[in-house]
């Protein structure tokens, strides 16, 4: 409808998704549709905890249903390279409550 609202500009880029259950999944955007269903390639989950640094779990090729998606962020590769995930501690995000 309005220009540039979709996720076209992010295709083939690394994105970071926050799901409604509070997970953070990072991967390469391969496809999406009207309902924000998303195809993510080479994806991994970043698990946050207060006890240890961020753990990365390899997931591979994923389809995430739009209902379960909160935020799709464009990952700035340079900023991300400078992040020290092993020393980053935080509570996991809360789930979305409608």
């Amino acid at each position: 409808m309005s220009i540039g609202t979709g996720l076209e500009s992010l295709v083939d880029q690394t994105i970071s998704i926050i799901t409604n259950d509070g997970r953070n999944i990072v991967g390469v955007l391969k496809g999406f549709d009207q309902a924000t269903n998303i195809i993510l390639d080479e994806s991994h989950e970043r698990v946050y905890s207060t006890k240890e640094g961020v753990q990365q779990l390899v997931l591979g090729l994923y389809i995430i249903r739009g209902d379960n998606i909160g935020v799709v962020g464009e990952l700035d590769e340079e900023l991300d390279a400078h992040l020290d995930l092993s020393s980053l501690r935080a509570h996991p995000l809360k789930p979305v409550i409608h």
Partner: protein, 93 residues
């Protein structure tokens, strides 16, 4: 449709979007669509120490369904105009 048009007029302004998981993201409004999905540029999370989950994200797409509030710049709101428009809408056109 009213709020879609309303948000389109706010494009380019600085807003804070609070999500239903308590995360608040501040950035420049880039675009809005019919579902009130929101795209923000130059984003930063309001409480970065508590929520470092988006430290390497500068542009993002927020699904309309997870938005709890949008905090607007005061000068971006013409209260009288919005009053009139919402009343007209409530009357059915």
């Amino acid at each position: 449709m009213l709020f879609f048009s309303y948000f389109k007029d706010l494009v380019g302004k600085e807003v804070t979007v609070e999500l239903k998981n308590d995360l608040a993201i501040r950035g420049t409004l880039h675009s809005v669509d019919q579902y009130l999905n929101i795209k923000l540029e130059n984003t930063r999370v309001v409480d970065q120490d508590k929520y470092p989950h988006m430290l390497s994200v500068r542009n993002c797409f927020i699904r309309g369904s997870v938005v709890r509030y949008v905090q607007l710049p005061p000068e971006g709101v013409d209260v009288d105009l919005l009053h009139d428009a919402t009343r007209r809408e409530a009357r059915g056109g």
